[in-house]
Point group: C2
Chain length 259, copies 2
């Protein structure tokens, strides 16, 4: 497998040859969160994304029934080309699977949302340390006490990812990620976790705990897991997502997303 | 009338005391393009905006039937608070009016889209000359040969606005407007009008002609008139818009839109 070519990696995933996280694959190409809903929920979800652009920056929305994202990865097939999917029904996660062909219908609309892997590459390039990568684990993610702006039935809490950074590097991290609004952009909060309703940093709701070292500040970015928290909180009738960390790899070079 | 307060101006407009362009009113507050469509067209139009963020940067979408934009101007009434509206039916502009209460229905969805008045204020603040303001006229606007990315029935040409700038100021204009993606952002094209299918700069499709002086370059930005061109080109069954230059004034300070 060629670990640098988006098409080759998607095809390997489609053949079932890669079932792990996509972190580190196709360096330099944008990875995406996936949300699939039936057409009768698509307007409200698109509106939800418009009203909450930091957790839900939309890269592409497919026409109903089309599983090929013609704008961001022509030739790809969203039914097969992610290593792992999650299926939500009526507010419960009912299945985790490596293929969703059995769930595809003519009314399915797929949303690709920007992913922090893109801005992490930019942070690394700017010389900022990312502990979860050093440790080979996932970032810490937390449900906050901040409600997203609702749209129709889509209502629920903002989920954030947290990366600890030395105090003298926080401003640089803001500058670097602000250039990437299509992949969550600048942090939503810096410092005091209490202000987000996070009682205990050592117990993340998703991902792994990253302890703070002396002089470090927790920096919180809006997170693409938010729609999954909304599916649960709002008991959305039907939604398919990627499994955390198991993203869709597009053909978009990261650099083209910088403003 | 207090020309600096968004609420006071909207109320004066509502009472019919101001029917002219909103250019220069409420300096420092964001003005918006308006597009109203029935709910059954709203998804495709929202998708059209998502696929064409430069001409159609969405500031707010109201819930169906709600004429109050609760996020950007609480208390306002989109049926009355613009000085002039245009009504399109089946691809024709059938009416220009100062009030749309007679056309409001429970299925109406209003879109507020960013307007170049915001970035013009930023350009002026950066010391860049804007000839149409010096002359007290409108910018030049042109239908181009570039198709927007279609969504459902919404298909049509990109409309651009043109401002002539001295060659040594073009880069600065790019830098300044790039900070405002919510109001069309950086230019879509600089120089040669032929490349956009514009045969004759002296005959704009909308607005007024601005002759180029020696050493000046035409700089083209995506324009919020694009949905009106799409309503005509795609024969959209029903759409209400603002009349060009007669915008909706929000409570959002321009500066909060800068990234």
């Amino acid at each position: 497998m060629d670990f640098t070519d988006p098409t080759a990696i998607r095809q390997a995933i489609r053949r079932g040859e890669w079932t792990r996280t996509t972190a580190g694959l196709a360096a330099g190409y944008t990875q995406a969160n996936l949300v699939i809903v039936p057409r009768d929920l698509a307007y409200d979800f698109l509106l939800f994304c418009q009203r909450n652009p930091k957790p839900c920056p939309v890269l592409e929305v497919t026409d109903a029934g089309r599983y090929e994202p013609i704008l961001t990865a022509p030739g790809a097939d969203l039914r097969h080309d992610l290593p792992a999917y999650r299926v939500f029904r009526n507010g419960e996660m009912i299945e985790e699977c490596q293929d969703i062909a059995h769930l595809w219908r003519d009314d399915r609309v797929a949303f690709l949302l920007g992913c922090s892997f893109t801005f992490e590459a930019a942070l690394l390039a700017a010389g900022l340390p990312l502990r979860h990568l050093d440790r080979g684990c996932n970032v810490s993610m937390y449900r906050t006490n901040r409600d997203c702006v609702g749209a129709g039935d889509f209502q629920g809490p903002l989920v954030v990812s947290m990366r600890p950074l030395p105090g003298d590097m926080v401003a640089r991290a803001v500058q670097v990620t602000a250039r990437y609004p299509a992949v969550h952009g600048a942090p939503v909060h810096i410092g005091d976790p209490d202000a987000l309703g996070i009682d205990d940093l050592s117990r993340p709701d998703y991902g792994d705990f990253l302890p703070l070292e002396d002089g470090e500040v927790p920096v919180f970015w809006a997170c693409g897991v938010t729609p999954q928290a909304v599916a649960l909180a709002a008991r959305i009738p039907f939604m398919i997502t990627h499994a955390p960390g198991h993203m869709f790899i597009t053909d978009i070079p990261d650099k083209t997303l910088a403003i």
